[in-house]
Symmetry: C2
Subunit: 343 residues, 2 copies
């Protein structure tokens, strides 16, 4: 059986740290932008080989007369989201959203207190929830992510983003984006690049907030998606979210999503886990100068340190092959001056 | 059974006018652009209610302080392709491409001369080809549109576009685009709109040439699509085109394609047939000022005249309901000074 959402693994759910998760109401919590005030376009990147590799690449493909010059329309850059543009520990943020939705919806579903997998989710009994397996997870996904219109879902996501806080950092999730990556996005755009998100997360989960947070418009978001059905109810046309998978935009699904939605091969790709391997491979496999970069989570003090053994964002093949493939490993601890935007 | 490509109906194939179809080699035939030389942004549109409706709409949504002002990122305009941006008679141009491909491929398939549906296609026996039904058509689609990488397919389309000529007009297909619509695309873009194609035709059939011809980049093309498979052959990553439908971007499939790829509701939509009905309905069903326009083919002298009874681009419901829904009917004969770009 295909998983309903690749991100939502049973292991991940087991690791849910729900207790102590505050829910402050602060509707005007302004998400951070990439405020570049100095003339240095990448102030949060330390000098070193990683930064140099990025700048050299951009110069090579944008300098008129350079043998590696690339015309602006072909300057397509793709970014994974979870673990590349924002954090992903202790579990994918979309999973926090899912569990918060189960709790919110439970108010009109009293029967859930005695019915699996809801009972376990609500009681915080993660062992039991894991026992419900993929079928249970799929049921939770269906209940929280389908059966409504895409507009209703977008409103729900937007409202959650304003009020929800990460259980460990206590920050809004949209403030757990990486400042160096915001600068990189802005730097590439200033050099004629079109920046896209290509994520295993749901496209409808990302679109409501990425424009404000990353400067990436909804039409430049490629994500996992469910099937949709066009309906006209009471004279109002709408798109209903159905509980059937349409694309799992992860692993080999990423080049597929890129080809379907973008329709040309990127010249730069940024990821952090083996779920990004094929996207990096596809990008760097084209002719001409290419940039493939892996954000390596090495900073247990300021963020998290994980790679090979991680239950989330596992990085093994990428770590083994980056060197021979000419992919850049960005070491968060070494290469990044700061992690999150200033409060 | 779902049709392999909605465009490719058996009726259409029956109407194929193959004899006399020249194939001149002219690799440098430059496709036309929207050369607007006067200060009038719509020189090929006659004065009248249609032109006024377009200009009024653009002024209303782009004038600062207007109660109907729309921020630039939300200025999404979607255009059907066949019959809206270029001609579609006597059959969809992608169908001419298909039959030309069967002929080209037949050189390495001597067995096709005695095997259906190839034999009929090659012999121009359209009655027999029709008898092969949807299964036969699906087989021709599979042979001509799948089993190769998307890059190989794009090269084939590009080469065909340079050399193929329309059997009646004798023009390259890319010169059978509508000059008034090229001006409209440029006019909207000059006013901060992002223009998209949303077509029943294949996205991979359109992407190789629409940027040059319409100024619409590949990533702003939503079309019907087959499934893709990521493969690495001899170290080279590629996407293989599979003979399975992924999206039929026609009728109710158009709002689905819009939601999947664009991720926001357009404020302006342009179509010509009932296959565009739901796209126009979805677009005009949103809040605020909207524009929905149907190109009505009324000009048998300069182009073709067809609507209710047509085997291609049937327009019936749209014609019946345009008035009550406030949709604009652009009458080609009355509203357009010219049809095609000057040679």
């Amino acid at each position: 059986m295909k998983r309903w959402m690749p991100a939502l693994t049973v292991t991940a759910v087991v690791l849910l740290l729900v207790p102590g998760c505050r829910r402050d109401a602060s509707p005007d919590a302004a998400p951070p932008g990439a405020a570049v005030t100095s003339t240095d376009p990448l102030p949060s990147w330390n000098a070193g080989t990683t930064r140099t590799a990025i700048v050299d690449f951009v110069n090579a493909v944008t300098t008129n007369g350079s043998p590696e010059f690339v015309l602006p329309p072909e300057r397509i850059a793709v970014f994974d989201n979870d673990g590349t543009l924002w954090a992903e520990q202790p579990m994918y943020f979309q999973e926090f959203f899912l569990l918060d939705r189960v709790r919110a919806l439970a108010q009109s579903h009293p029967e859930w207190t005695t019915k699996e997998p809801y009972r376990s989710a609500l009681a915080g009994d993660m062992k039991r929830l894991a026992a419900s397996g993929e079928k249970g997870i799929a049921e939770l996904m269906a209940v929280t992510h389908t059966g409504m219109t895409i507009d209703e879902f977008a409103s729900t996501v937007r409202a959650w983003m304003y009020t929800a806080r990460h259980p460990i950092s206590k920050r809004p999730y949209t403030e757990m984006v990486y400042q160096p990556m915001l600068e990189l996005l802005a730097y590439l755009r200033a050099n004629g690049f079109k920046t896209f998100i290509v994520s295993g997360g749901g496209s409808e989960f990302m679109r409501p907030w990425v424009e404000k947070v990353y400067g990436i418009p909804p039409e430049q978001v490629v994500g996992s998606r469910g099937k949709l059905k066009y309906e006209v109810k009471d004279g109002k046309p709408a798109l209903m979210k159905l509980p059937e998978i349409d694309l799992v935009d992860d692993g080999p699904g990423k080049p597929v999503g890129i080809a379907q939605v973008i329709g040309r091969r990127p010249i730069a790709a940024f990821g952090n886990s083996d779920g990004d391997f094929q996207m990096l491979e596809y990008t760097s496999g084209g002719p001409g100068r290419r940039l493939a970069l892996i954000v390596h989570h090495t900073d247990a003090d300021r963020e998290w340190a994980y790679d090979r053994g991680s239950h989330i964002g596992k990085l093994e093949r990428g770590l083994d092959e980056a060197g021979t493939r000419g992919w850049i490993l960005a070491d968060m601890k070494r290469d990044w001056k700061t992690i999150y935007p200033p409060k």
